[in-house]
């Protein structure tokens, strides 16, 4: 599995989202800090799940960070998040 697939699998298992998009946005950051040839460094995730209902902006992003801690400490250099109620 590539990094995008791992991110998608972990988020699906953790949150059972009603909506989930994992976009490898690395090409848009070509040559920037943390970027590597081949992609897999910069991601945008749009996720909507009931698990986020009632949580503040910081709390809902923290919940996602926690599930992806390994990736954020590893290959993922930037993660842009849009976290919504489900």
């Amino acid at each position: 599995m590539n990094t995008a697939e791992i991110i998608e699998k972990k988020l699906r298992e953790a949150f059972r989202p009603a909506r989930l998009e994992v976009i490898d946005d690395s090409e848009a950051h070509r040559g920037h800090g943390g970027w590597r040839e081949g992609g897999g460094t910069h991601f945008k995730v749009v996720i909507a799940a009931p698990a986020f209902n009632g949580l503040g902006r910081v709390q809902r992003q923290r919940a996602v960070h926690k599930v992806l801690a390994e990736e954020l400490a590893g290959p993922v250099h930037a993660l842009s998040l849009q976290v919504e109620d489900g």
């Binding site: 950051h29 800090g33 902006r57 910081v58 992003q61 960070h65 801690a69 954020l72 993660l79 842009s80």
Partner: protein, 123 residues
């Protein structure tokens, strides 16, 4: 992470109303996400202290454990962690950032904030 770094950060965010931990400086950001947040603050005329994490590895790592937040930029208002780039952009467009500045007695240009919102109407 050494307590010394956390003490330093605590002092920094405690003694400045608005602090942005970023890659690069307010004048010369070195990352698109940092640039976006610095740009919003500059446009809104908010005075803030910029801390370039690229200049200090201890702060670069220390700020992440300090706030339990894995990415940079990080914005603090009156000692409180407010969010990273996505959150600051969302709060700018929703008006929540205005409210937070008002609540904390931080001066800003309301007309400029309105201009940002007018220019970024949802499609």
């Amino acid at each position: 992470m050494s307590d010394a770094v956390h003490d330093r950060i605590r002092d920094e965010v405690g003694s400045n109303d608005v602090v942005l931990y970023m890659k690069g400086t307010a004048q010369m950001p070195q990352c698109g996400f940092s640039s976006k947040v610095a740009g919003v603050l500059n446009y809104m005329g908010v005075p803030f202290k910029d801390v370039n994490v690229l200049a200090d590895d201890a702060v670069r790592e220390g700020i992440k454990s300090f706030s339990d937040w894995p990415t940079i930029p990080q914005l603090y208002i009156k000692g409180e962690f407010v969010g990273g780039c996505d959150i600051i952009v969302e709060m700018t467009l929703s008006g929540e950032l205005d409210e937070m500045f008002e609540k904390n007695g931080v001066a800003f240009d309301k007309a400029a904030a309105e201009k940002i919102r007018e220019a970024n109407q949802p499609a």
